[in-house]
């Protein structure tokens, strides 16, 4: 199995704070890798570090075998990474269409096909095509953010807590969407909702205090009550 993304001993500072203190993480191609850990453990910072939004101070990040840790954010995105932030990052006063156009690389057939694909996957977006992104419901914003990240020809999607603040029915839809997107793209998922994480995740990586402490098959964690209690406070 090839690793699409590999982080080796990554350290990140935010201002003077040493937030990531040795993150090791791999995302095998075609799988959903879940990042787990308590609030404030450093999951969001890990995703932002991958995207170059909080650049790492040391360590290496390889995407498809190429180092990306020194690249500016837009180059990282162009190399094939899509980012769905915790707050969804919707441009509230731009329409759904414009939100998606910000992510479109070009006018090519391939891009048009990707847009068609996400509109089939998320019919609501088509329905509200000319509406402002800010007027969408929480679930629809999540859909738009995922659609947008996918449209820019991403082979890896980084999705931060997509179930946050959503009703259970809507979470079901997000799970379906992730199952579907997985056929097209590798996914790194940060998720606090353990049920959701266990339903969509193939592998897990536990982060605690800015360090990776465990990694393995999702099934292993599901069975391991002690680990769940210790690092996630559940079980």
């Amino acid at each position: 199995m090839t690793d699409l993304l590999e982080m080796r001993d990554v350290h990140t500072y935010i201002g003077e704070y040493h937030i990531l203190q040795g993150v090791n993480f791999t995302a095998p191609k075609g799988q959903v890798s879940v990042l787990l850990g308590r609030n404030g453990a450093g999951k969001t910072t890990t995703l932002k570090t991958i995207m170059g939004l909080h650049p790492s101070k040391s360590g290496s990040i390889l995407f498809e075998g190429n180092p990306i840790e020194k690249l500016p954010t837009h180059k990282i995105a162009q190399s094939g990474l899509g980012y769905v932030p915790e707050d969804q990052g919707i441009f509230a006063t731009l329409t759904v269409e414009e939100n998606i156009r910000v992510a479109m690389r070009d006018q090519s057939e391939a891009t048009a096909e990707r847009v068609d694909y996400v509109l089939k996957l998320f019919p609501d977006l088509k329905k509200f095509w000319k509406k402002d992104g800010g007027n969408l419901s929480g679930g629809q914003k999540q859909m738009l953010s995922m659609a947008r990240a996918f449209v820019q020809d991403s082979r890896l999607l980084l999705i931060d807590e997509p179930s946050k603040g959503l009703a259970p029915v809507v979470i079901g839809k997000v799970i379906e969407a992730i199952h579907e997107l997985k056929k097209q793209s590798t996914i790194v998922l940060v998720e606090q909702n353990f049920r959701m994480a266990s339903l969509v995740g193939d592998t897990f990586t536990l982060i605690d205090d800015g360090r990776t402490v465990h990694t393995g098959e999702m099934g292993y964690l599901v069975e391991n009550e002690e680990m769940k209690r210790k690092y996630l406070g559940i079980g």
Binding site: P72, H74, A77, G82, Y83, F91, L94, E98, V102
Partner: protein
């Protein structure tokens, strides 16, 4: 009636000149939170470039073009040398751009001499039209027209082109714009240069309107433009247009009715906005 219309047109024309200066400022601030106190320096360079070109070539159109080209070149140099090194640091931005403003002002005196220069309205824009009792001064009408045309062009670029879309998105969330694969620095350079060109255009149009150009005029207009950006809402182009017209009209009417207040009125307007609607009348961000 005649008086009212004259005050109105006066105010509108002044407002449009301020708008040309404020347009660049508001987008630059909205997009990158960059405080550029040197913006008025581009205005004054546009004014002097136009006066010089007009005197040399006799063509007002060439004079305007010369001013715009001057703005583009100075804008490029300013962004690369002055602004890029101080991204993200407001204190440094204020200090370095204020310093650069003084440099631009002094350089005017070095290049064009220490005295003010007379600026003439081209013959085909001189004089006035009489409509009934009302006398419409052609050059003022011309400025108002240009102001609306420029506003239309910028709005078109913002609403209908990809780079305009990126600017609008960048004003809302610039991290996300980059995370979606767009080089925001490039877009910012483009915006900065466009803003500089507009400031220079404003200066070029201002010259014949006031009849003279002098090195310090950039400072005066720069401050008005800042007030307009605050009133209109940082990052909002329609906000800047409305606020510029408001400031222009307030200045024109006050100068006639309550001359003692004609300078203070802008400060009062700004203070009121800051107290009751600190995000500005037309805030771009929610």
């Amino acid at each position: 009636m005649e008086l009212l219309i004259n005050l109105l047109i006066n105010g509108l024309a002044t407002g449009m000149l301020i708008f040309l200066l404020a347009a660049g400022l508001t987008l630059i601030f909205g997009l990158m939170s960059v405080l550029n106190f040197a913006h008025g320096g581009l205005f004054v360079w546009g004014a002097f470039a136009a006066v010089w070109m007009y005197a040399t070539t006799g063509s007002f159109i060439l004079a305007i073009l010369g001013a715009v080209v001057t703005g583009v070149i100075l804008g490029f140099v300013t962004e690369k040398l002055i602004i890029t090194p101080v991204y993200g640091n407001h204190v440094q931005q204020i200090l370095i751009t204020l310093g650069f403003m003084l440099v631009l002002t002094e350089m005017i005196k070095v290049v064009f001499g220490p005295n003010q220069l007379a600026a003439k309205v081209p013959p085909y824009l001189a004089g006035s039209w009489e409509v009934g009792d009302v006398i419409l001064i052609k050059y003022r009408m011309f400025i108002i027209l240009i102001g609306f045309v420029v506003f239309g062009i910028i709005q078109f670029i913002l609403k209908r082109t990809k780079i305009g879309l990126i600017v609008r998105a960048g004003v809302l969330n610039k991290e996300m714009v980059q995370a979606l694969g767009n080089n925001i620095k490039q877009v910012f350079l483009f915006t900065f240069i466009a803003g500089a060109a507009l400031a220079a255009l404003g200066g070029a149009l201002m010259a014949p309107y006031s009849g003279v150009v002098y090195a310090e005029m950039g400072l005066e207009f720069g401050i008005l433009a800042f007030i307009v950006v605050v009133i209109g809402g940082m990052g909002s182009l329609p906000g800047s247009l409305m606020a510029a017209i408001l400031v222009g009209l307030a200045g024109s009417f006050m100068a006639y009715y309550v001359p003692a207040l004609s300078l203070a009125v802008n400060m009062i307007l700004m203070a009121l906005v800051l107290i009751f609607r600190p995000q500005g009348l037309f805030a771009a961000k929610g």
